[in-house]
């Protein structure tokens, strides 16, 4: 990268962190100057609480549990949504059969199902898993269908000329051609399910980041609540960053940036 580009990038970075810094300063000033009614913790309180949560490994445990849930649920949702999406796009009759129902279900936020899931599945892992799958499923499905229907018909003719097997058609044509859309769907699905998981953990769990916030609430530990909230946001950002890296790598052919 040339020097000008680097300077520009740095300036962009500065602009990006200006708001969070400002908020931090305001928060610090407000709480130390007696605003916030003594309920809001000071930055120092939060840092201390953070150290304590780390030392007792409490925070790590909750993070681990939440990540494990999201990993499991997201994996299952992907395994369901991509094949169903491919089937819907490949077989119009199948699409006509299932799409109206799926369209209906898509309108319902996963959180609305939590009471039902609790009654049917209990308050164990199954409920959380169901919420994650529900939240991740639809963005992945919709984008899979979109990606498939956008494949240039001329490439299908090439696949026919080259006698592609089903497997080759999937591996060499469908997945790479639909990859931009697929990745967009996966990214959306993950952030959707991450948010839904936290909600589920607040309503039906005894562990995980969502639970941690609720537990802090019942103990009126505002500092711990803030830590839970911040960690959820940071992890969400990390997921997104991961997708960006993956996208850059997998779709390098789109902007001639493949390193060889």
């Amino acid at each position: 990268m040339d020097k000008g580009g680097r300077t520009q990038k740095f300036q962009g970075f500065l602009r990006g962190i200006a708001l969070p810094l400002l908020a931090l300063i305001c928060w610090g000033l407000a709480t130390t100057q007696g605003f916030g009614g003594g309920i809001l913790p000071t930055p120092k309180d939060v840092v201390t609480a953070f150290g304590r949560l780390l030392a007792t490994k409490e925070l790590q445990t909750h993070i681990q549990i939440s990540l494990f849930r999201i990993g499991q649920g997201f994996f299952l949702a992907t395994g369901l949504a991509i094949p169903i999406g491919i089937l819907v796009a490949s077989f119009p009759r199948f699409g006509q059969t299932v799409l109206p129902t799926l369209e209906f279900l898509r309108q319902i936020p996963p959180v609305a199902w939590i009471p039902v899931f609790i009654l049917v599945l209990g308050i164990g892992e199954a409920t959380k898993l169901a919420v994650i799958i529900y939240a991740a499923f639809f963005p992945i499905l919709v984008n899979t269908i979109l990606g498939m229907t956008q494949i240039d018909h001329r490439f299908w003719e090439v696949a026919r000329l080259l006698q592609f097997s089903r497997r080759e058609t999937l591996r060499e044509l469908i997945l790479p051609a639909a990859a931009p859309s697929l990745i967009a769907g996966l990214r959306l699905g993950l952030s959707n399910s991450w948010r839904a998981l936290v909600a589920a953990e607040m309503l039906a769990a005894f562990s995980g980041l969502g639970y941690m916030i609720m537990a802090a609430r019942s103990l009126v530990r505002m500092d711990e609540m803030f830590i839970g909230i911040a960690v959820i946001g940071v992890l969400g950002l990390l997921f997104d960053w991961g997708w960006k890296v993956l996208e850059k790598h997998l779709l390098c052919w789109q902007n001639r940036s493949c390193d060889r």
Binding site: L162, E172, L173, P176, A179
Partner: protein, 263 residues
Amino acid sequence: MRNTSCVGKTAHVIGKEPGFVEVINVGKRFGMGTRVLEALTDLDLIIPAGDFVTIIGQSGCGKTTLLRLIAGLDHPSEGQIKVGGKLVQGTGWDRGMIFQEPRLFPWATVAHNVDLGLPDRGQDQQADQDRVMALLRLVGLEDFAIAYPGELSGGMAQRVALARALAGSPKVLLLDEPLGALDAVTRMRMQNELLRIWQTRALTMVAVTHDLDEAILLSTQIVVLSERPGTVRRVIPVDLPYPRDRTTLEFNVFRQELVGMLA
């Protein structure tokens, strides 16, 4: 001189040759809403194995349609097509096709694109790689094996498409204005390349072109289609020895005659 007049008795005997193409009384209609569009009608054409046939005719007369039918990408509404004595019912390794645009998979490297054209790929990685490199050498692109199609010029991409089509060892190569989008110099180079490949491999070539010079330069026979609905108006053998030179007197006399016939 190659055998150019195979209609009649001999056609039956050599009809089983893998590169022998028979288009028998073929018609093709397309449904366009409530209208029916007749693209081809009563089309009869016999192409002997090993010939280089170019098809010329006005825009919209059905040249692409005819190639697609031979390739097995579409089915005739009437009549039948046989290649090597076998009825065409779909695509097959005995036929390769190159379109006006290269149609390379942009997400795959040049080498991978060519690799996808190998009929029995995946059995022996090293052998596949060797074959791919040999094909790339054939079209002069061995240095671009790991490039992506987006990094190639139009002419280079079309050469990769040629290598990919040749990877299947087709007996019949169908070319739909493959050089149409190229500049004059690249075009001449590619014409020579096509000739070289045709002469070194046992291939029947069926090419669509709008360029009369190209038709005379390359082909053993020129097939002239009528206006839509397309049918064979004339088959003109090109009795000039290879290699042909468009600056010679013979060449230009032939072109004069051809222009006279088409007018």
